[in-house]
Symmetry: C2
Subunit: 238 residues, 2 copies
Amino acid sequence: MELEKITNESESGAKSVRKRGYYDACGMAHALDLVGDRWALAIVRELMLGPRRFGDLRADLPGLSANVLTQRLGDLERDLILVRRKLPPPAHVQVYELTAWGYEAEPIIQELGRWAARSPGHDATLPISGVSILLSFRTMIARDRVGEPPFSVGFRFGAEEYLARLDAAHPDRIVVERGAEAEGDIGFIGAPNALAAFIYGDVPEEALAGALTVRGKAGLVARFARLFGLPEKVRPKE
Amino acid sequence: MELEKITNESESGAKSVRKRGYYDACGMAHALDLVGDRWALAIVRELMLGPRRFGDLRADLPGLSANVLTQRLGDLERDLILVRRKLPPPAHVQVYELTAWGYEAEPIIQELGRWAARSPGHDATLPISGVSILLSFRTMIARDRVGEPPFSVGFRFGAEEYLARLDAAHPDRIVVERGAEAEGDIGFIGAPNALAAFIYGDVPEEALAGALTVRGKAGLVARFARLFGLPEKVRPKE
DNA sequence: CGGCATCCGGGAAGATACTG
DNA sequence: CAGTATCTTCCCGGATGCCG
């Protein structure tokens, strides 16, 4: 939410006015004051796997215009959810990075996703970003089925690379970092949507030829794919 | 989100257009299409402890105007998050009630609240509804400290009554139902804000005389109050 | 190109008044 | 009490342009 101060010079004093806040002590209401504006939570989502640049965010959030992105980044920075950082030379580009508290918003995103996956209106064939599909793995993984031994999975979506490590001994069962796709015991290269179709839509690998390349032992690929599933949809006449 | 169809009679055909959706397969994005509109999630929150009437919702959501409430209720009904029900005669008043899936949204509200409670901008002295404070108990309870034996706590906020049962053996540790305040082993009667000050603000009972009446054994009241606490705030220079 | 300001059109939210 | 109608305000999204 805005919560910006507006100087009101009708007299002598500058009166400050809060705009469109919920003005409610309920924690949920305050959360919406912080990330309830359109696109705000989607921006946090895109930063959830590490810092990114202005242009990266624009590219993965189609429909979000530059001026709104600028405004949201400013609001989120003011509210301590993210910080602007300048990478050291020679890169010296500006990136946006969640604060420790910003990263703590992941359960919000997970619960929203878990709940909405049951909606009859949820269409898994729509466009999806690389970060989103990886976060969905962290949400939807069957934690009790990870099994032994640990293994790693590489992902490459265009120029974006990730490496996920699956380990039944780790509390989250799955840890994702940027880069090092090639180090994975298995690997997926292609569009995030094709990966979603393969993992969640049970579309066979052959049907995705061209859109998705799968690398590594077939047994391990199958073991990975079996870890994920979508919940039952709500029936329209309940 | 709206997602309403708009007939566009510029020619002969009626073209339908979706408005302001995220158009994203990410579950979180779809969740925001469902409950991302202003006030939508707050309405769901107010229904989380059972069905309520139009006027009840208005009363507990100050700032929400009637036309917006009408629109949100319509959207939420269309999306199967709630249903309109007519109570049987002689009451035969209309109430709004969450569907089973609607009730499943509680973890979303809990995670939002848990996260926002750490915000430096969170002001627990703002107005709060009875439902909100009871939901906050369900969110913030220290589950490993409920202890034995089970007991029950009554609440009365004006004409609104609730009974909460605390039982270490129950998976949620705390179950809330409407009515029967007097059945509680202990009871709180007064404004939700005064209760919040007592439980979360550690304001002593005496300082709240007039705003909050506490009934029952002091030991049990203390045992109840010790179950709750707010998380550490984020420090502005992190 | 990245970041940000500005103008503008459309549409959602807010306030108020009105009706059954 | 439960909504509907109307008017206003302002947020969102697109386009353009400035500056580093």
